[in-house]
């Protein structure tokens, strides 16, 4: 122990960052491909319908005949649920992150480039929304839009739509602040000064110099954000305001949570799938960030 050299002067900075190796990246890509494929083509799989109840086979264990991952307490097939849930969970997550990054990115980039009062207002908006924890914000939003009127149970918007809107509102300030910071750092670079001094229009500087440079760093965070959204969606489902029972991964585990002692797989399998997907998204985002760091260090 005493003889281990303490100093790491000679080590390279990149190595010391503790980045995961390429193997993790390949596994992550594989898993995400499977999920995305399932989300698109799940309907064509030879499986029972996710909301069809097989009353003769309640609470089947894993690897049962005809139900590979068993059934839950009201007889719906766990594998079909996961396949259908991939569409709901990934759909909600990717849509919210995509819309949120477009709006947040535009706000952040414009704020950084225009400065002045536009910047103050946008930054204040980001700070205000970031001061409310995401789960509280989405909880209030879902209650606000999705709960039907007492007199008219069919009023209120579909849960999935409300989830997308509220999660988009969560994503906007996160990616917006990132885009603003990144745009600020890029707009101080020499090539932007050169473009300005040769009389290039602000709009074209934004389009040709700022946005293409801000996008990659937003991409890497967008993958992390997609993971965060899947986790929030699961949390909301546990709190009872997620997607309809059994329709997403989160609401699958929320629905079966009470049966943990009897049919544990109906809760733990969706929980594992959520965990794997979030992990894969994190690997993916980190890989992008590594590539960008490399690229920027060469510029």
């Amino acid at each position: 122990m005493c003889c281990t050299p303490l100093l790491t002067h000679e080590s390279e900075v990149g190595v010391a960052k503790g980045r995961p190796g390429p193997l993790g990246f390949y596994l992550a890509s594989g898993w995400l491909l499977v999920c995305v494929f399932t989300a698109f083509f799940g309907d064509f799989f030879p499986l029972p319908k996710w909301d069809e109840y097989d009353y003769d086979n309640l609470g089947l264990p894993l690897f049962s005949d005809g139900h590979l991952l068993g059934t839950d307490y009201d007889g719906s097939d766990v594998l079909s649920g996961l396949v259908h849930g991939a569409r709901t969970s990934l759909g909600i997550s990717f849509t919210a992150v995509f819309i949120g990054s477009v709006i947040g990115g535009l706000l952040g980039i414009v704020a950084a480039y225009r400065r002045g009062w536009v910047d103050s207002v946008v930054t204040m908006y980001f700070n205000v929304s970031l001061a409310i924890p995401t789960i509280v914000l989405t909880l209030v939003m879902v209650a606000l839009f999705a709960t039907p009127n007492v007199d008219d149970p069919s009023s209120g918007w579909p849960r999935e739509l409300v989830l997308i809107i509220s999660l988009t509102l969560v994503i906007i300030p996160i990616l917006g602040r990132l885009a603003r910071g990144s745009a600020l750092s890029w707009s101080g670079r020499d090539f932007v000064l050169v473009a300005e001094s040769i009389g290039m229009k602000k709009r074209s500087i934004l389009r040709t110099h700022i946005i293409p440079n801000v996008l990659p760093s937003m991409m890497s965070v967008a993958f992390l954000a997609a993971g965060v959204v899947i986790v929030i969606e699961g949390g909301l489902a546990i709190l009872g305001v997620g997607a309809n029972p059994g329709a997403s991964w989160g609401s699958m585990l929320a629905k079966n949570r009470g049966e943990l002692a009897i049919t544990p797989h109906t809760t733990l399998v969706p929980a594992g799938v959520i965990g794997l997907t979030v992990m894969a998204l994190n690997y993916f985002g980190d890989y992008f960030r590594l590539r960008i760091d490399d690229r920027e260090s060469r510029i």
Partner: protein, 321 residues
């Protein structure tokens, strides 16, 4: 000059607080469904009018906001209305007195446990930087930091609570009632929240420690013949912990959200339960006060970080940072 920066930050924090609470009072007004119908379904007209006045539904949103704000500043968090028909209710403050300590204790325990485990782990990894041990553990930590706490919680509840039957799966026991049962009831919630944090914190500390280890004062200390452990703990840890502390304070805010879900998983009936019930049953005043409380906590945590920065890192304190 320093005071001006501090005052500026304070003014910004107050403005953010105002905007958060005001937008909540507008949002809460938009909640569909007449709260009077939900709170007093069988009341007389006079009863309804009285409740309407008491809830501030008969005044405009600005008046309503300020009457709520002044009540809050006097320590009155509003009334939790029960549908007993007579409009009677329980003060939100007395419900908070039950729920808040539970959630605060969970958050406190989680933070303490996370830091107590993360600091030695981070130091160890920095010390062994780039060896096989470090690479393996760092990879595992990266994977672990992305698992949601409720997934860990559910897995723990099944393995430790159901299969091994070691710990209670649901319920909370106050410390004053039975200290050992108190800790037993909180082990699983705290562990599920801590695992991700330990992974995050130790990775952050590792990177900062490695950066500090490159500085000249470490070479100096090493050439004076000080032991590695002494250098790591006494010289390198402090200047390397600023990122860790920022992250810890930010995570305190995020922990509120995580704790809300974990409380529900383990049926601890804390602050999260209070908030979800308030939203489900249209407790206007309660929702507003509870969210304001969270926002205040969040902003205070961030404020504390700025102060701690200066205390921990002598380079910032001396104005050389």
């Amino acid at each position: 000059m320093k005071y001006r920066v501090a005052l500026n930050n304070l003014a910004k924090a107050v403005l953010v607080l105002f905007l958060v609470t005001f937008s909540i009072s507008i949002l809460v007004r938009w909640l569909p469904g007449d709260p009077i119908e939900i709170l007093m379904p069988f009341a007389t007209e006079e009863g309804r009018a009285a409740l309407r006045a008491e809830l501030g539904l008969d005044i405009n949103v600005v008046q309503y906001y300020f009457s709520w704000l002044f009540d809050l500043l006097r320590g009155d968090f509003g009334v939790w209305y029960a549908s007993t028909g007579d409009g009677g209710g329980v003060p939100v403050r007395s419900m908070l007195a039950v729920a808040l300590p539970r959630s605060l204790l969970i958050m406190l325990y989680t933070m303490v446990v996370s830091i107590v485990f993360a600091v030695p782990l981070g130091i160890f990894l920095a010390y062994r930087a780039e060896t096989r041990t470090d690479k393996t553990i760092s990879n595992v930590l990266f994977a672990v930091s992305s698992i949601p706490s409720f997934a860990i919680g559910l897995a723990l509840a099944f393995v430790v609570g159901v299969q091994l039957d070691l710990l209670p799966v649901i319920g909370y026991v106050p410390f004053a009632e039975n200290p050992s049962e108190h800790f037993r009831s909180l082990v699983m919630p705290v562990v599920s929240l801590s695992i991700g944090l330990i992974a995050t914190f130790s990775r952050l500390l590792r990177v900062d420690m490695i950066a500090t280890l490159r500085e000249d004062f470490v070479t100096m200390a090493s050439s004076k013949g000080l032991s590695n452990m002494w250098i790591l703990w006494r010289h390198v840890l402090r200047p390397s912990s600023s990122t860790l502390m920022t992250s810890a304070a930010l995570q305190m805010g995020a922990l509120i959200g995580g704790a809300v879900v974990i409380e529900t998983v383990f049926a601890l009936n804390g602050f999260g339960m209070l908030l979800t019930t308030a939203i489900a049953t249209r407790q206007y005043l309660a929702i507003q006060s509870l969210v304001a409380l969270i926002a205040v906590a969040y902003i205070v945590f961030n404020f504390i970080v700025d102060v701690l920065y200066a205390v921990v890192d002598p380079r910032v304190r001396g104005g050389r940072g």
